[in-house]
């Protein structure tokens, strides 16, 4: 009799345990609608388009992984203006209930943030590193590390190389100002022996930089840090070559765009910049992503695609674990610590800010490659 009861008890425990295991790993959600607000036209269209590709690839993989979860994306163009972002957000909301919204670029992200917060919609910002986005204990997160992290890496490089006279050229938008200010602060913090001899903003549509380059040359800058679109960087490098001015040019993440290689094939050689994604990286997430992206779109992914991809994955994984319990979704994302991703190991803080390492890349033989040594 005792043996019989024991067997029944054991079967019961196994059954309950099995039921719990099956149900705890099963998705807690059956359908998700995610609005994606990108800059699909205008100056930042290239970056928005790459983000869109990353998001769609992640969606495809997630649907294969969680066959029962229907993921719907609603892409809307922000025209790279705050008003366009708000228009797009309202258009998405008008199409039906939305569980999360991905916002591309800082001005759009900032304009949408209060709306998403008021609606209780999870917001995942990509290519948005402006500091003001940080806000504690809400549903706003991002896959772009704050400008301080990027500036830290390039400041380290500048200090190591002991450049004596640094010039800074930045586009006059939120990113340009944030990155250049972060770099100045970081250099000061490090006590670097580098003097900033020139710092000037330019309008994003500028094409003629010869005046600034002449001033930089006259100031004797031996390194010039450029915060601009790849098209800006290409023009600066070409025009510097025309002026026979050859300092070490440095840049930040938006430099990596095929435009740089096609518009400045010779002058871009040796250009060094900070980046957060290496498609040739050896980690499993990066290799899988790069391979799948190349198969899908016929070219290598960049950081914008990677940020969109990572953002989409984080959103869906959070909902799969928590269902529509937004408190749980927020806690899950905030609790991520050294979580492997295509952007390296991600750690979120209570502000929804992500932390990961930036590294240096360069243009070598007409290709974007990781900088060795």
């Amino acid at each position: 009799m005792k043996n019989y009861l024991g067997a029944v008890l054991a079967i019961g425990v196994i059954a309950v345990g099995g039921w719990y295991l099956v149900n705890s790993s099963a998705p807690k959600v059956d359908a998700l609608t995610i609005g994606v607000i990108e800059s699909l036209t205008g100056n930042a269209a290239y970056y928005g388009e790459e983000t869109r590709k990353g998001v769609e690839l992640a969606k495809k993989e997630l649907q294969e992984k969680y066959g029962d979860v229907v993921v719907v994306t609603n892409h809307q163009d922000s025209f790279y203006t705050p008003k366009g972002g708000v228009d797009a957000y309202n258009a998405i909301r008008a199409s039906g209930p939305v569980d999360a919204v991905i916002t591309h670029a800082s001005p759009i992200t900032m304009a949408v943030q209060p709306l998403a917060a008021a609606d209780g919609v999870l917001q995942m910002a990509v290519s948005a590193s402006v500091k003001n986005y940080s806000s504690p204990n809400d549903l706003s997160f991002r896959t772009s590390a704050s400008t301080d992290f990027e500036a830290e890496r390039i400041a380290q490089f500048i200090s190591e190389k002991k450049y004596a006279r640094l010039g800074i050229l930045f586009f006059q938008n939120d990113i340009g100002v944030s990155v250049s200010e972060s770099l100045k602060a970081e250099l000061a913090k490090r006590g670097a022996e580098t003097t900033i001899v020139f710092s000037e903003g330019f309008v994003i549509t500028s094409t003629d930089f010869k005046t600034q380059l002449a001033k930089l040359k006259a100031a004797g800058a031996d390194a010039v840090y450029i915060v601009g679109l790849a098209s800006n960087v290409a023009n600066i490098l070409n025009q510097a070559a025309d002026l026979s001015y050859g300092p070490q040019f440095l840049g930040f993440r938006s430099s990596e765009d095929p435009t740089l290689l096609t518009n400045a094939p010779t002058a871009s050689e040796g250009f060094i910049y900070t980046y957060n994604f290496d498609p040739a990286g050896t980690s499993a997430p990066v290799q899988n992503f790069s391979k799948a992206f190349e198969e899908e779109y016929g070219h290598q992914p960049d950081a914008y695609a990677a940020e969109g991809y990572a953002g989409m994955k984080l959103i869906v994984e959070a909902f799969v674990r928590c269902g529509k319990d937004y408190a749980c979704v927020g806690s899950y994302l905030t609790s991520l610590n050294d979580s492997p991703s295509v952007l390296g190991n991600l750690t979120f803080d209570e502000n929804g800010d992500v932390k990961y390492d930036f590294f240096l890349k360069t243009v070598k033989d007409g290709r974007f490659v990781a900088l060795e040594n």
């Binding site: 892409h75 001005p107 340009g176």
Partner: protein, 288 residues
């Protein structure tokens, strides 16, 4: 519904801009590209006053109108000596200067970082936080601007403006100081543009210089040309069409990889055809 309310608010803001610009361009014949600057002055004034003082939205809006009107008065003294392309160039220069101030005076405007977290209007403890209520406020202000503009255009002052448009020299022969009329209508238009700016700032709750540059002035000019010059009704219709058309195109079923680009192509084509077949605009009485 919420989306329609949002579009209606944006329409009301642009209708105020269009009606006020119509006074300057459509009724007086002065091609002004300075309207985005006054729109921005209103927006930044309201945002900065709300952020840095204890004033509420409505006193801030009144101060914003004053700041914009004073700026218009100062620049208008110079501009009112010109007309036609010289006026357009002078007003364009003013917009570029104001845009540069928004962009570069970082201690005041925060430059490209913009001003986030602008509060919604509050009146006797009632906060206009719901969009439908905000729409009511926007429509009331539009109604007031429209009524004021109607009064102006139907007055003897308005008839003088139209006479300036038709033949400024002839009017000055009769002893009219046309430059004062031009200055006055410019200041009125700027004040109303500031109302639109204040509404925009407190509705979107985030402003940066990108919303107040030369392209925005060109867009406002397109609104009144498409709606029809010399007609307040045309200005409102123009705002309705140009605000709603790009939004309606969001729902045309293109695949995501080409949707945004195709919308812009269709939008551009529709405007070209409209101007080809209706060059006087939708409700215009006057052609430039």
């Amino acid at each position: 519904m919420e989306y329609l309310v949002h579009l209606a608010i944006i329409f009301a803001i642009y209708a105020i801009l269009a009606v006020s610009l119509q006074l300057i361009v459509g009724f007086t014949g002065l091609i002004s590209l300075a309207h985005a600057a006054f729109y921005g002055v209103g927006a930044y004034s309201v945002a900065l006053i709300l952020e840095n003082t204890g004033f509420g939205f409505f006193p801030a809006l009144v101060l914003g109108i004053l700041v914009s009107a004073i700026a218009a008065f100062l620049i208008g003294i110079v501009l009112s000596k010109f007309r036609d392309d010289y006026y357009a160039l002078g007003s364009l220069g003013f917009t570029v200067i104001v845009f540069s101030i928004f962009l570069n005076w970082q201690e005041l405007t925060r430059g490209p970082l913009g001003i986030p977290g602008i509060n919604r209007p509050e009146l006797f403890g009632f906060v206009f936080s719901e969009n439908i209520v905000y729409l009511g406020l926007a429509l009331i202000l539009l109604g007031l601007c429209y009524a004021f503009s109607t009064f102006v255009t139907k007055s003897s002052f308005g008839r003088a403006l139209q006479a300036i448009r038709e033949d400024e020299v002839a009017l000055s022969v009769f002893g009219y100081h046309t430059s004062w009329f031009k200055l006055a209508v410019f200041v009125m238009g700027a004040g109303m543009a500031a109302i639109a700016g204040g509404l925009f700032a407190s509705y979107i709750t985030f402003i940066d210089p990108s919303s107040f540059g030369v392209p925005e002035s060109v867009f406002m000019l397109s609104v009144i040309i498409l709606g029809g010059l010399g007609s307040l009704r045309g200005a409102v219709i123009g705002a309705l069409v140009l605000v709603l058309l790009p939004e309606a195109l969001r729902f045309v079923g293109f695949t995501p990889d080409i949707a945004a680009q195709m919308r812009q192509v269709i939008y551009g084509l529709m405007l070209v055809f409209l101007m080809l077949y209706r060059p006087q605009g939708l409700a215009g009485t006057y052609r430039l």
